[in-house]
């Protein structure tokens, strides 16, 4: 199984904001045991979905120079549960970006209804360091971004400055 907990990006503004969707299916393995008589999307995987949305946003902002790893969930609040058949919308806003790390404000909604909110801290690990072997980390990589359709498949947002490549160059789909 692939450790990917978002299905597709639907908006991506380099260095600023990303929106992704995740469709919850009854066929997914985690719902078999969580819970046997009442399948609910585990909160930890909702956090992972928010972190993947934000982690790829942070990684792309630095041209994926460093490995971006989930370091800390500073704050998380759950408002509701997600059930099979729900489409989760993950929104991540990059609020701080430094060479050694980044901070993302993320939220998850279902049909516009709040599901969860989190503040997530990412560490940026230098790929040239001795302990930066990528297989040691669950890192947010460029390959994930390509698989999830950024930027080629995305409709261009209408907002000024949206749809930019790293460094602020317009994306040509």
């Amino acid at each position: 199984m692939r450790w990917i907990w978002i299905d597709r990006f639907v908006e991506f503004q380099s260095g600023r904001f990303a929106r992704a969707i995740k469709n919850v299916s009854m066929a997914e393995e985690q719902l078999r045991d969580h819970f046997p008589c009442y399948p609910v999307m585990p909160g930890s995987l909702v956090i992972e979905g928010m972190a993947q949305t934000g982690g790829i946003l942070a990684g792309e902002a630095n041209h994926f120079r460093d490995l971006v790893v989930l370091a800390k969930i500073s704050r998380v609040t759950f408002h509701n549960c997600a059930l099979p058949g729900d489409q989760l919308v993950y929104e991540a806003t990059l609020v701080d970006l430094r060479p050694e790390g980044s901070v993302v404000e993320a939220r998850a909604t279902v049909n516009g209804r709040p599901l969860a909110e989190a503040e997530i801290v990412f560490g940026h690990v230098d790929r040239t360091q001795g302990d930066a072997e990528p297989s040691r980390y669950a890192a947010f990589k460029q390959e994930m971004m390509q698989m999830l359709g950024v930027p080629q498949r995305l409709p261009q947002p209408a907002a000024a400055g949206a749809g930019m490549e790293p460094g602020g160059h317009p994306v040509h789909a």
Binding site: A71, K72, S74, D96, R98, P99, E100, G101, V103, V121, G123
Partner: protein, 128 residues
């Protein structure tokens, strides 16, 4: 330029948010690792929050010099070496090295007062 008491209050609020501790635990002489349970990744979070809360810029490795502290000539078996103490006096004048005494455990270096001293230094430099 805010008073030291005002800076301490803001640092306390910062650490309460970053570490999820109670405000009354964040005393001036509290050690970030030993008393407040901070882990290495919390230092990054603390730096982010200090920058935001005080409007200062903290260069990488300035407040928490991880490169220096992972250098075996400065820190050996978790203790700061004599050479390390000399280096820290130059690189971290805001740290109270005398409190380390004869058993200079590197983890004891990071205290709430150390952060207050650092922020005071930065704000003083900015106000000049």
């Amino acid at each position: 330029m805010p008073s030291r008491e005002e800076i301490l209050e803001k640092v306390q609020a910062t650490l309460v948010d970053a570490l999820g501790v109670d405000e009354d635990e964040v005393k001036g002489d509290a050690m970030l690792i030993g008393d407040l349970g901070a882990e290495s990744i919390d230092f990054l979070d603390i730096v982010f929050r200090l920058e935001k809360n005080f409007g200062i810029k903290i260069p990488r490795g300035d407040l928490f010099p991880e490169n220096l502290l992972s250098d075996p000539q400065f820190v050996a078996a978790g203790k700061v070496t004599e050479k390390g103490l000399q280096e820290l006096r130059t690189r971290m004048p805001w740290a109270d090295l005398d409190r380390l005494g004869e058993n200079p455990n590197v983890q004891d270096l990071f205290t709430v007062n150390m952060i207050v001293n650092y922020v005071t230094t930065k704000l003083g430099a900015n106000s000049k």
